[in-house]
Symmetry: D3
Subunit: 309 residues, 6 copies
């Protein structure tokens, strides 16, 4: 965040973290890290009641007013006012953090359309049911804590790009079952809304660590089938698509793809993730230069040809 | 099977496979492969009705009477009589195939006792519930199609040996949670009753191939918790124990052990499986000789010291 | 080939192999293996002159007339007449062997169009120049000796499918350089016309074994640039695309992809090759069955769901 | 160590390291690092004679009197008196460093009992002979420089735990040869008394680096057999047990286990080492938390369930 | 062996194997496989006494007279006379089996000269002592059961070639210690005279399987030092040279080379072994052809250029 | 560099790097890092014209006069005079940087002699032609940026050592083709004069990164053959030698050695590179000590025996 010392500010910010301390007067205070797209800043909230502690949890959007100070070489915000926002403020997490280039509404429409286009009632109903269950999180969560699509709505954006890619490939290779491919794309990472902690300061949940998003989603498919009274091999194949989408045991899939669409789903996932990494690695690089090394791309660095721009 | 050509026999046998053909008179006939512990023999069942086809499915125990013939250098049984057995015959699959050295009843008592000893109601109820659901198969199935415990009741025998080993280890290392260890042992391979086709001519089911016994059982634990209205971290930890019991991603566990008892469960499984392989590899070997190579033990061959017997 | 002994036949066939022998009368004879799509048959060509030996080399199309005999349990063709075909016969290699589903003319038009669409004169001229040089072979050769596209015109068919896929992907990810992608697709395997022996009884040439198609084509690109007096980084990037298209050192690329389009080229190659393998593995399989193991797909076997057909 | 500046102390401490320097007056001085269980502190020993240099070697227990100073932000002990301890002081290394939870005497009795229980005179005599040779060190050394049992008497404690585990396993699998198992446990790491430098500031000796504890002990077994005039296959099998106890070539065993007891010895070693690591990793962790990553356990971190304590 | 049925022969042959049977008259007979450089042939020795059984053990050289018969499509020798040879016959194993291109005497002189040239008394005495102990076998044994130098005196021939190579390399890189290099070459595989069964029908001994030639020789070096009352670091370094000569743990060396000469010894061993494999693979190949695949050279096949001969 | 503040110096130095800045008076200045064998020093070149910028590029040898200052704790050279050197100065890069122990002239003579000794005109002419093309760089460049022979003329010195080693080995194994071996040695790394930036502050060029020295040289061999109108298999074999000299795909050779001399070339390269690393690692170590870990030798550290010096 770029402010001058002494500057008066009024801002919408997001609580990134909250730590409780005891001041020398014996009263509790909160150290809040507040962020927006331009960075983050520390603010002390003195004489905090336990209700305040509840109110200003991480991921809360607040409006603050205060003055910029400097403390040990770093800027600090001296709070004058703070309040949680409400609907009238019209501020969303995606306004304060890096977010997908498509609006949530737009992505919802696209996903809805692909589900609508499915021909198999079993596959269509299970997919729709599972998306509905976690719809809000699905369109808000990042796709990962790092490496690719690690921004607000990154998960949905990844899915939308993959759906388009799946459609192109199915157009070229007509032996592919579109229903399986679309459902596989939509469901493959949906377990991440339980594996990850949320769009802000994203980390792994305990369940995410011990079970993983693959297992979480496979179970949800079974549960959806029970709730919708759907039987038949489609349920098992959908589970297999999710189970095998990492491609190999050593990459986290206990079974490798053993159905054609599962194999292709793995490639589609790969291409979209890698394109995202490549674009981000190269966007800060000038023609004739190499990017920094990209860990998830075997630690390679990439060259931008002099005739590119 | 060792019989002389022309010998009259009356035997209890198990149908290993059934293939339908059409004879030159236009009528259907069945080619049955019948087996007992001494081997197998082919028999033709002429003029078979579709009802006969239903009756003499694989895994059926039959009583046959007939005469031993030879056809193209192999013995054949010329059927005079055949009928499926009933309870009065008192013949079980385990009488006709290699089977575990403990009686089913004995193994049931042991498993029941270990479940009874559990202190956590959540863990105890889920374990008991899941064993009950597939109890008959659990005490009949082999533990694998090959490598170790590949005999009738091999799965339960493997579990019973592991329970005793788990108890010994928990006695020596008191920081271990016995409930988790015992439940982990009982549930870890229980999904094999869906992964494998049964105790006779065992192969993988489609579900076994596409999902695997680990995933199958993890789902069943969730389902059991729902049916029993059990909530709490115990459910997740039980799922993690099953999920991680192969120890590493490349050995089929999408998550490695991340709970102490999960790590130890993996070792207990390993020791009991390997002891079974070692004993079987060495039982046909004389002191001073090497066994044949054992594929699942890195293709090693093992030496029986001259001072052993 | 299914013929009856004694049958008189007149056929167009392809010489698959020729072996010279000396008959008991001291004269030379040729043992020809002749093939068409239905299989192959042996024929003896007695009293062969050295001119005949030259005429009936492998890959020659011949018209034969003769009678079907049987020798040591296998059919043999007793030749009455044989002659090499000429243009009037209108028979091509692709009529006698399995071939790509698109006609050569059709594939030529598509490749020409993609070259025409290129915007960079340097890339366009090099690509066109190299295709022209080996045009006949390019549209006739298989893409490999086994695994995928191992049929007449398989190389060009693989390229045409990849071009369409490249176009779809470039439509979705506008940061990609279409010229590089198209040129990379067209050139990546073009060295196979020197690495492989030809469309019939395909094997590796000595040069193919010792240098490989990647190195062969990289050199040709340099040579083309010299011949066309083209300088500039485009030449180096085209060489890098070919050099890196196997993706990793251990898969035969001495440099991994270090340019965005090189990374994507590797995926496009992979998807088209794998789709070809998958379709061929599953085309002989009924719903509810598994295919045979596919070596180049990590020896997996693939399941055709019961709801597919 | 927690002392206040200016505090007068009289302490038993262990010399961890000694470095010689030359003071500005041209006389030698020693910089001693002195430690006990609470940590370590530096002390300067001025005007040190070469006899003092010999006396205050690392691993010496000393009694010191002095005053706590501070120098460049770190505490220092200003020595007033220092002397090496003698038997009357009754202080042992294990009083000043972290040590095994069992007393040396207790561990000696257990090892003696297991040796006493052996039935094969050859195995018993060799084992007893080798333990006797290095008895003092065996009950004092750690089992490693880090990872597991890296404390005073850690080697013997590891052996004692393994002996109990070996007994439990032999009770469950009667085909195991107890003599081999017990001797294997006692001898497997005995070479560490030559591979490691001692219980204090443990490092590898040159011999340890160039030959390793496995080779060292295998040679000692041969030597013991010569000294005891013992011949017969038992000697070779004991050597094989030690040689193969790391399980695989890449883990440092030039031969993999090829005798049943060698295979099981490897597992017993593994379980006891891993239990030690797990207990230490989890003892500082609260329920609901993850431990730090444990390098020797594939860098995993472990979860302590909320229902544990 | 190429003989005609009915031919009378008188030959020196080597007993390759002996199997005892009981004839229909109740008397024992021996089935002997007899060999020379041209191949092997079976002979029945009827009415064999137990003394005969002792006399005609494998590796015995015999003189036989008899007639060539045919039995079940294979030649057999009908024995008329058989006797073990003695010194007067002047026939050695190397006359009947493939053997090294240098005479034993010649190789002995070379090895003696290299030992004589050593400057370190410790290294020289240990090396000479160990060669003396097994001198007869050392100059008779093959270097392996397959892959390279698998012929009579192959071990010594391998050592002699390596000594010359070691000398050349030491001439070029004067920082190398020639004593260590020569001693390392002479001792590195000397344990093979215990690891292998002998020059005829070579197999692994039990000791060879369970301990391996590396461990066997390392122990012998220690034992030699004790017998010669030699102390000092030279002993440890010689042991390290042998211990590490396979280069990596996964290739059977429990410690990698950690001394300069150990690293170079590994390369010298490699070059000589590989040259032997390459020469043998290519000696049956014509210019312009590829050899068969060589398993120990990563299963590669090698090309003989057309300009070679 | 060790100078005292205030000292007047006149020195020959090498420009290691040049950075342009704008002074507060608005004029350009250059920050030059100047080096000789004793280290490097910074100098400011004020009021630099664009011509000066061209003149004092990295790798230029200059004569400077000036005074030693100190700035922020580091020495700086206050320039009084600076000029590029010319032939009269008689100063070469190798006088100012660490360089090979043989003079360039001496190495040129050796390489010339080996080329002269070749018997195949084709191999001889191609080798001579390629050396001539880059002769100046060949005798000036290092062999690598780090690991081995990373000094001025390191590339040629590596080649000269390898030529001698190749000759020794060919003397011992007469089946080797000396022409191929010598040409392989001379050409194998010649592409490094394009892969690397030069002898000063050596880094990889873009071409080096994207294509690599192996590919660069293989192309040059083809180009040389065209320029010299040489045809025949020798050209292909020379290309194969260069292509395969890293030994394995994962080490950067797209084809493994498939010709005998290619296999041996790989070993010769290895030995000379490793000897260079070992000598440099051990030259700063005293007897009885271990060297630092050497990354390119599997991160091992090496022991210098107490009897070495």
């Amino acid at each position: 965040m770029e402010y001058n010392v002494g500057e008066q500010v009024q801002l919408y910010l997001l609580v990134k973290s909250q730590t409780k301390g005891i001041a020398s007067n014996g009263k509790a205070f909160l150290t809040l890290i507040l962020q927006d797209k331009s960075g983050d800043i520390e603010a002390k909230f003195w004489d905090a009641s336990s209700e305040d502690e509840q109110t200003y949890q991480p991921q809360t959007i607040v409006q603050v007013a205060g003055e910029i100070h400097e403390y040990r070489g770093r800027l600090q915000l001296k709070l004058k006012q703070i309040r949680p926002t409400n609907e009238q403020d019209g501020v969303e997490v995606g306004d304060l953090l890096e977010r997908a280039p498509l609006a949530v509404k737009e992505m919802q429409d696209i996903v809805t359309q692909y589900i609508f286009d499915m021909k198999s009632p079993a596959i269509q109903r299970i997919t729709r049911h599972l998306v509905k269950k976690v719809e809000k999180d699905f369109f808000l969560y990042p796709a990962a804590t790092k490496n690719h699509h690690e921004f607000v709505s990154g998960l949905a954006y990844h899915v939308v790009s993959m759906l388009k890619l799946a459609k192109s490939i199915a157009d070229l290779y007509p032996s592919l079952d579109r229903d399986l491919l679309y459902a596989g794309v939509i469901l493959h990472d949906l377990g991440k809304v339980q594996e990850l902690s949320g769009p802000v300061a994203t980390s792994y949940t305990v369940e995410g660590n011990l079970l993983g998003h693959i297992n979480i989603m496979v179970e949800q498919i079974s549960q959806a089938a029970i709730e919708l009274s759907i039987e038949g091999e489609e349920v098992m194949i959908l589970k297999h698509l999710v189970l095998s989408h990492h491609g190999k045991a050593e990459w986290g899939s206990p079974k490798p793809p053993m159905v054609k669409e599962a194999e292709i789903l793995h490639y589609i996932d790969n291409i979209d993730a890698k394109m995202n990494m490549l674009d981000r690695a190269l966007e800060r690089v000038k023609p004739g230069e190499f990017s920094e090394r990209v860990f998830a791309l075997d630690n390679r660095n990439f060259y931008k040809p002099t005739f590119h721009n």
